[in-house]
């Protein structure tokens, strides 16, 4: 069970390079995909879900090469939850899952068993008779997640599943993803760093189609070890001076000035203390680093 990406590139007809010769190796568990809007996350997911044909490179899913001849074979191994999945508003939760399961080729009996199992796991058993249009945003995502899992895929691809959800629902979704990653690959795209910090050990960061980081979360944090400082600034003027010199990952007005989180390799020239780096600090550092 693996995703091997070699020298993958995607260029659109208008000349935009969405993916620029990237290499990745993803194995069982959750792999977090991070990047700003337009970085190429969704494009990469569309390639992996066979929606988009790459312009160059090679992709292998569980050893099977991703090409048109293998599409049908691969499609049954992939579960996908896109960013905004519209559910059939006229159908109830259970009906829509039965419908999608049937279309995915799961037998009626097996489909029923799996729906019961996943509804229980996602806390939707009590809502199974509700029409999809009556569901909250979080419930819809959970239904979407169940539909992606019904045919028992080896690879689950989820595109920003926690965007726009309240904290409780976000935690629930990401915990589900962790549960479902025990025996499969879960490719989890997001720009909410907290979600990745809570779920992924391995992650990749995309910037303008380039993979600028691929590796362990700890290794990423290590890059900014001893480089994060909390400094107390007297006023806005001082803050502006600091802002021009250093990377700033947080700013907070306090009673006695401005508390600023600074990322700098050496101690800044203003008074401050060295603190532990977070994933957010590491991300800001990496995104603003000069390309080598």
């Amino acid at each position: 069970m693996s995703i091997e990406i070699k020298d993958l590139s995607v260029q659109f007809r208008n000349g935009t390079v969405a993916i620029n010769h990237i290499n990745m190796n993803i194995s069982k568990g959750i792999y977090g995909l991070l990047g700003e809007n337009g970085a190429g996350k969704t494009t990469l997911m569309r390639v992996l879900t066979t929606i988009l044909r790459p312009t160059g490179g090679q992709v292998k899913l569980s050893g099977i090469e991703l090409n048109e001849e293998n599409y049908e074979k691969l499609q049954s191994r992939i579960g996908y939850l896109p960013q905004e999945l519209g559910l059939y508003s006229n159908l109830s939760v259970r009906e829509s899952l039965e419908y999608m399961g049937g279309l995915a080729g799961v037998s009626k009996e097996e489909c029923k068993k799996r729906i019961d199992f996943y509804l229980e796991r996602t806390g939707l058993t009590d809502h199974q008779k509700k029409k999809n249009r009556q569901l909250s945003g979080g419930m819809k995502r959970r239904v979407g997640l169940v539909q992606a899992l019904l045919h028992n895929p080896e690879i689950l691809i989820v595109d920003e599943p926690t965007t726009g959800l309240d904290p409780e629902e976000r935690i629930r979704i990401r915990n589900l993803l962790v549960d479902f990653s025990k025996d499969r690959i879960v490719l989890f795209s997001t720009h909410i760093l907290e979600d990745l910090a809570a779920t992924c050990n391995n992650l990749g960061i995309l910037k303008k189609g380039n993979l600028i980081y691929d590796g362990k979360r700890e290794a990423l944090l290590h890059q900014v070890k001893d480089s994060v400082w909390i400094c107390k600034l007297r006023n806005e003027e001082e803050y502006n001076l600091i802002q021009n010199r250093y990377l700033i990952s947080a700013k907070n007005y306090t009673e006695d000035g401005i508390e600023t989180r600074i990322i700098a390799d050496k101690k800044p020239h203003v008074p401050g203390i060295n603190v532990n780096a977070t994933l957010e600090d590491a991300y800001i550092y990496l995104m603003n680093r000069d390309p080598e």
């Binding site: 007809r13 879900t49 996908y80 896109p82 519209g86 559910l87 159908l91 049937g102 992606a148």
Partner: protein, 219 residues
Amino acid sequence: MNYNIKIALTRTKVCYSVSFLLILALIRGISSPEEIGAAMDANVALLAIIFCSDTYYQEIQDNRWEVFNLLPDRNRYHTICQRLLLQVLYISLLISLDYWVFYLQKAVYWNETGKLRLYITAVLACSASVLFFGTLSFTMVNVFRNLWMGIGATFLLWNTLNSTAGKKIPDCINVFAYGNSPKMAGSVDWIFGKLVAVVVSVLLIYFNKRFLVWKKGLR
């Protein structure tokens, strides 16, 4: 099947189709039962253009196409065809009921002779138009990958065939030959026009196989 009925025949669609046919039966003047089929033919085709246009397009509108794309080709094609045919069947059923609403017009005299034959002929003839224009509109939307372009292109053909110029098209290939010449009800020439429409519809349904996988960007 049950789920496809719920998906294809939404409350909005049911409301506007029933209203359309009801209003048509009440305001479209006719003087004899022989004209009922002719009065309905082109109009129900227009209804079918709108009704069937989003058969597949709703998957795009509701952002389901990416998930739909992962389903086995055969199942995906079958379910969409089922939705299309269910819609055609539904409109045909409405036609068969709406036919009798025309009798509310006082101008219609009750002529028992051949009443059943006229009824069956009208329903079958109109259903053929519904099948043809419904399938064409669904296909055009898939080809253009745009709902309004698809509806517009089909409407152009409908308008051409339904115009004075359209009447000059030989009956054997004109889907509206039956509606254009109600007096020909006794003749069988229009049947060929309808048969051609049915055959073309079947071919279009087959042709749609390749359009049911929507690829973005590079395809």
